[in-house]
Amino acid sequence: MMTKPELMKRMVKGPDGLEFEVDPLRDYYCEAPPTVMPGAYIQIVEDFFNWARSQSLWILGFGTGCGAIEMRPLMTPRFDAYRFGVAWRPTPRQANLFIISGYLSTKTLKRAIRAYEQMQNPKYVIGLGSCTINGGMYWDSYNTIKKLDEYLPVDLYIAGCMPRPEALLAGFEEMKKIIRAGKAEGANQYAENFAWYKANQKRVIHDWDMPDYNW
């Protein structure tokens, strides 16, 4: 299944003339599986953090499908999502909310999984538009997934084709409520059911050319 030459094991000759094997997947990537990360030991601290988390939603600036176009107006004066503590970050390391904006082809799904796994716990996923819910108009497409929560732990769906920016704002407010309630444990859910998610993902992604978990 692994056909990418750059990921294949290879023999390398060191400067001292010794040859040794390099296994890129093992040598380049951390192999540790994700673990469940409990919240703060003291509940009130965790609540405090959850409150802060809810007020500081950093969205990963990754438009997976046509829905990405609906997020742009949120930055404009008309909708101004910043006032709700919503901001966009260019790197998954710093973001904690991943909006799957619309249909997700298998090719994009691979990147989405990688980006999701590189975000830090706690992290949240919002499915945007009907395509993420049941495939929408791509229900019979040969390369588009139809049920996002099969592959990533989704905290919230915003239905519509496409949902308007207002719907998104409402979604954010709903998301905040979930977070404040301490129910947005998608990351831990993903870690708990890691095998199941991985199996689902690998079922549709035929050339799985990455480690099982992308740290």
Binding site: V12, G14, P15, D16, A32, P92, R93, R111, W215
Partner: protein
Amino acid sequence: MNALYLIAIGLGTAFLLGLLNEQRRDLAYTLTLGALTMMSAISASWLVVFVATGAGAVDIFTAGTRPPFAINLRMGLTEATLTLLINLTGLFAAIHMGEVLLAKGRRAMAVLLIAIMALCGIVLTRDIFNLFVFFELIVIATGGLVLLSDDEHAVSAGFKYLIVSQFISILLLIGIIFGYHATGTLNIDGMAAIGAGGFALAFFLIFIAIVAELKPFPANGWALDIYESAHPGFSAVFSAATGSAALFALDKILAIGGPAWYPVATAIGIVTFVGANLLALPQTNDRRLLGYSSIAQTGLILTVIGQQDILGNQYLFIAGGLLFAHAVAKAGLFWLSDFVAQRELTAWASLKERPLLVFAFVTFAAMLSGLPPFPGFYAKWELVHALAAADRLALLGWILFGALVEAGYLFRWFGYLIKRESDEKVACTAPQVIPVAAAVLAGWALGFVWGDLSGRSNLLLVLPLLFALGFLLIEWAPAWAKNLLAIGGLSFYLLQTWQDYDPLRLIFLVIFTLGGAIIFLASFHAHGRRIGFYPSAMLMFAGLVLLIQATDSFGFFAAWELLTVGSYFLILRGKESEPHALSYIVFSLGGAFLILTAFALANAVSPAPTFEIAALATLAQPVAPWVFLLLALGFMTKTAAIGLHIWLPGAHAEAETDVSPMVSGILLKAGLYGLFVLLMSMGRQSLYGVDLVNMLLWIGALTALLGNLMAIFQEDAKRLLAYSSIGQMGYALFGLALMNHLGWLMALMFVINHYVYKSMLFLSVGGVAKRTGTRAMYRMGGLITLMPLSFIATLIGIIAMSGVPPLSGFGGRWIFYNAIMDAETRLPMVLIFLSGPIAFLYLFRLIHTIFLGQLKDEHRRIKEAPASIVLPQMIYVAILMGVALFPGLILRRVDAYISQFLPDGALNWDGLTITSQYGWWNPVAIMIVVACIFLLIFGWLLFVNRKAQKVKQFNIVFSAERPYRPETTHFAWNFFAPYKKAMGFLVQPFVTRFWGAVTDLLHTAGDLGRRLYNGNGQIYAFHFLAFVVVVFAFKAGL
């Protein structure tokens, strides 16, 4: 024994050989050797007598009557020495050519004997017609000996030689007969008593004929063909013995012409010296090159002969020094050339398998270039001083120019020898080696004798130099033992002498000795015997400590040359260092010549047998600024100031791991020391209204800027560091040229700091390069975990170097700011301000592209650098920390010392705070505060981030892709491309192009000159006649 036996034995044996059976070749050869030995013994006995008793010259009257009725010979000290030289050359040539002589039989031996005999005759005779006869004998003998060669072109060469000889002899004969007609005597002394005034034309003919025997440029094409095609054993005689005899003959007949003819001799001599050297430059055939070099050397001695009016009693010392250095070295080189199968210069690489032969070559090349401790060095010193004293500066300039060109091609040749590859094996038999060995021994012995005669310190009795040379004798020992000895020697020297010096010199001394010892720790990584390393390195260190020791100009200059030569050999050891070592030695020797000239000028205005360095302070206008300028330029070649820097990057980058820190961290300081001494003693000087110190300020600032700027565009780690050294030296020069208290303090701080962090960085990078097998930074990356100690050293090094508190570099910056507050010129500061942050750029590049970023596949199993390389780095880290915390330990004493010269602006070392008139600085407090803040925050991060997952190199966010390969993920190549766009106009290689154009010009001139020699004997005869006409016109116009 009567000197007449010299002639008699030679002639007699030659006749005797004729009587022998053709088959008894062994006997003939034994007889020949015996005769030559006898002749040598006679000369030697005379020499011993003269030296031991100090007796005057002895006249030998052949027919029992006095001249003019009979021919008389004279044997004096000079004659004894020269005949000894000639006979020994003949003897060793006979030994060397033994095989050929045995093959060709008794006739060849007889001809050789005749030649040697005739040469002795030339030296001994006081009769001018007799002189002619001997010259003709030599022509005939040469004609015979040329045929010994197995080179098929030798015949035509010999014929060309005969053609021109015919012309010469006809002119000589006419001259003699008219001279006789005018004076009524054939005795040279008799003629001299009458003077040439009455028969100027006749004397001219005699003069020009004898000059022609010296093969003056450009009328010398025939001689070159002989050199190229004759058997090298004979070429040695032709060069060493014939040349010496002809020079002596010329000296003799000049007594007739008197001082009026000196300028003619000088002119011919200098034109020959410069011209032949220039033409030697493009040569590729070794023997032809040696021929050109012989002619050039003869020209130089001819110049000296022409200058005898100002040389006084030094005349023989100088002429003799040059002559013997030339004769011994040239004979040795010709003999050596027989071991090399091919005639290309590059073919000499086959010698490198034999260290002793390499040593022989080094000896000869050093003798020819006038390097210490050989006679040529002393002679050059006195000659230059005499010329400067007589204000013959143009001549002085031409001589030094020619010498530089000569050193250029000799060392280029040496570079080929050491660095080129050759499949040929060296084939040499004992009889062939003996003459070479004898020449080597003679070279060193002459060095000793001339040192003894010089009336200055005999360099071969100077302890540090002897210590360095001693390593030659223990080359068989393993490297670690020699290393221990080297470290011990350096440390011992420091222990023994440290009380003798003021704080300033002590700092330099400590860097030179202890600093060297620390770097030598890294040398423990080398295995085997490491032949050639220790003598070279120790020669450099000997030069360095002697430099500090020196109080007079001679000692200073000798030390300067020693350290230059030593470091040249060190640099040449690098892998690809051949061209860089060459440009290093050429620039260094050029700088040394400037220094020499400056000392000579200074000595000329304040005459004293030894010129104390301190006396520079007493120089006045108009010579003082010139001395200042020359010295400053000379020293700046060593500190690689901009314009004179092009040798440095390659030289430092290509050097071995432990050599780079030596030549960068230590050697550059020699130039700074010179500048320190210069500015301390001479202060401000101005030339045509230009303040020279101000010029230095600008040069320093420009060097700092451009050195740093060029450093940031390097892909090669060591080259980057090398350019950075240029920049750092610029800083130091700038500080010195500020000419205020703090400026000097800053320069000194730079001396210390630069030694520490540049040595550390070079070692660190060298260790990495050793492990990774490359110096290209973009091929490295991610080595931090594999080579953590090297990383730490680099990190500390770059923090210190960039001047970021709390490490010691900041002290330098702080002093710098305080220093410029007092400065009179403000504009150069702009350049310095700019170069500071630029340093940051290349430092980051260095540490990032090597240690951070992506680890390459082939480096995954790399180990930390060898312990011996890491250990000194750790010592440096400790030193840096120490200096950072307690700069006062060192600087305080220097501060007080500088106050002698520049009392204003001293720092106040009260408690832990250092206060200047503008600000203050408390290194301990800074360190503590920074450490506390850092630890506090670090502790906090450790607390909140205790569960961090350690990930691997490809666990990076990559726009949701995964990286392809480490090579394409590591951002390292062309690191500062935008800067090149914006500032690239400043780093165009103008200087390189300039020097390239200069060398091209010299080569082109040489090539154009070569067209004169089209190989046609008739044309050569034309040359000769044209030369006669030109010299005549010159003399008439004089």
